[in-house]
């Protein structure tokens, strides 16, 4: 299994744990990820608010155009990147007018994209290409006894509703956690927005949403929250203390990338498990599983 890999800006900063664990897990599962050369920021959901959808999608498409020369489908580990890349990709595939116009813009840098690739979230690749059976086979240290809230977040499943999983109550993350031996928490907030893009300008929105997510996860018996999304991870991890301060709560629930838990269950290196980047410490919750 070979893919073009789009790491996204956060992989080099706030979400290093994501990058490390994806790398480790991909290797363990024989998934070859080849980084798109000289990739650029996708613009997230923010750029279009300044320059408009079209410009944003063209900026995103630059990455697809580069990847297309290799002919490998594009995988990303970031939900926000996934959304912008996948939506742009769909537009290229379906909207002829858009494709022509976008290629006119891409041509300014000598690029062109024909819409021949698929854009995938890494979670999607694990579930649908690798398969849960193979994942289960790789488990060395079953996460038996661990209850995990599979927080898929919003953009992974809602950008293209139903194309990957149910947009409101996705189940694949739970199935994956079960394949690792863990128990999936009853967690109705699994795909609610955490408010990420408002973190800086309207922090209260984020704290409020975070509070609801923690409350739901804890009520479902979760000891750990996992997510495929760097924004979600950052918000829920770094701002957990502020939530506690604002609401007088004492949540202390580690928030990990799902790939980190896979790394634990696969018995991969501590570097692949990448716990050191966590602000809310996962060591206590995972002491009996992590080596």
């Amino acid at each position: 299994m070979r893919y073009s890999y789009y790491p996204g800006c956060s992989s080099e900063a706030t979400a290093k744990a994501n990058a490390h664990s994806i790398e480790g897990v991909a290797k363990a599962l024989d998934v070859q990820l080849e980084e798109i050369p000289d990739w650029n920021c996708c613009g997230a959901s923010v750029a279009s608010g300044v320059v408009g959808d079209f410009t944003q999608l063209v900026v995103t498409a630059r990455n697809l155009a580069i990847a297309e020369t290799k002919g490998l489908d594009v995988v990303t580990g970031c939900s926000s990147c996934y959304m912008t890349l996948a939506v742009a990709n769909k537009k290229f595939k379906q909207d002829e007018h858009f494709r022509a116009k976008a290629n006119e813009a891409l041509a300014a840098a000598g690029l062109n994209y024909n819409g021949t690739l698929q854009v995938r979230q890494f979670l999607d690749v694990i579930i649908n290409d690798v398969g849960l059976d193979k994942v289960a086979q790789k488990v060395k240290k079953s996460l038996d006894g661990l209850t995990v809230a599979g927080y898929v977040g919003c953009q992974t499943v809602r950008a293209l509703p139903f194309e990957f999983d149910d947009p409101e109550q996705p189940v694949f993350m739970d199935r994956l956690m079960e394949a690792l031996g863990a128990t999936a928490a009853d967690f109705p907030m699994r795909a609610r927005c955490c408010g990420s893009s408002s973190t800086i300008p309207a922090r209260d929105i984020v704290l409020d949403l975070g509070y609801k997510i923690f409350e739901s996860a804890v009520a479902g018996g979760a000891q750990v929250i996992v997510t495929p999304c760097p924004m979600c991870q950052l918000n829920l991890d770094a701002y957990q203390s502020l939530v506690n301060r604002k609401y007088g709560t004492n949540f202390n629930i580690p928030v990990l990338f799902f790939t980190q838990l896979m790394a634990v269950a696969f018995g991969l290196s501590l570097e692949d498990q990448a716990f050191k980047y966590s602000i809310v410490s996962p060591y206590e919750a995972l002491v009996q599983y992590s080596k």
Binding site: C9, E12, A13, T14, A15, K16, D38, W39, N40, C41, A44, S45, V46, A47, S48, G49, V50, V51, G52, D53, F54, T55, V58, V59, R62, K101, A102, E104, A105, L106, A108, A109, G110, L111, C154, Q155, R158, A159, P161, P167, E168, C193, G195, S196, S197, S198, I200, P201, A202, R203, D204, I205, D208, A238, Y239, S241, K276, Y277, S278, I279
Partner: protein
């Protein structure tokens, strides 16, 4: 031009969800729109219809699903549905000074659910862009959006440190003071190796990217003029 004062904007960011109680049931009052009769004037609406995704709002049938679906419904002044109605009523000032589109976090719930297939978040993006273009930028989000784009387009990649700095420079020191508890977050991020102090390298193809951007904007302008 009406300028919403910063105080009010900040105040509205505080969730006041379902404070009122009636028996076991709660309700949340929406912002009262206006007491005097309104006229219908589609001049402004037509301007909005011409935006990239603007014409979709014509399809709204006032079902109100967006209102409920919104992650930030507790702080949004007008739910998307009402905002679309306001546009059709010609209430330009109310529309552009509202916090509605700035409160949108692009979580896509409304877009995924809208029974009329309106890509609501994309309309919100259009309105953000429109508001910035016409100088309705007093909400902190506007500064954030601009900072994000400037940072990204000047480097080809995102540098959070740079973006945050740009944001606070625009918003002024007040904002930093209010956000002093952010300091703790920053420190713990630093401690855990998640906040590089130096920006990432610019992409090699930055020149090309800039050309793409300016060409794209040019094409957009051309199409709008048509």
């Amino acid at each position: 031009m009406v300028t919403p004062d910063k105080e009010r904007a900040a105040e509205q960011a505080v969730p006041h969800s379902f404070k009122k109680k009636r028996g076991d049931n709660y309700f949340m009052e929406q912002k009262k729109i206006f007491s005097e009769p309104v006229k219908y004037d589609l001049t402004f609406a037509r301007e909005i219809y011409r935006l990239e995704n603007g014409s979709y709002i014509k399809q709204c049938m006032n079902c109100g699903l967006c209102t409920v679906s919104c992650a930030t419904r507790d702080v949004m002044e007008y739910p998307p549905r009402q905002l679309f109605n306001l546009i059709k009523l010609g209430k330009k000032e109310e529309v552009l000074t509202s916090n509605t589109f700035w409160s949108c976090t692009s979580c896509c719930t409304c877009k995924a659910r809208c029974p009329r297939g309106i890509p609501i978040i994309d309309v919100m993006h259009d309105l953000k862009k429109y508001a910035i273009e016409y100088g309705y930028t007093d909400y902190p989000q506007a500064a954030f959006y601009k900072a994000f784009w400037t940072e990204m387009s000047s480097r080809g990649k995102m540098f959070e440190g740079g973006m945050t700095a740009r944001y606070f420079l625009t918003r002024g020191l007040d904002e930093i003071v209010k956000a002093m508890d952010m300091k703790d977050v920053g420190i713990s991020m630093l401690k855990h190796g998640r906040m590089p102090l130096l920006p990432p390298k610019k992409i090699k193809g930055l020149g090309g990217l800039k050309k793409i951007i300016s060409k794209a904007q040019e094409l957009d302008r051309k199409e709008a003029a048509r």
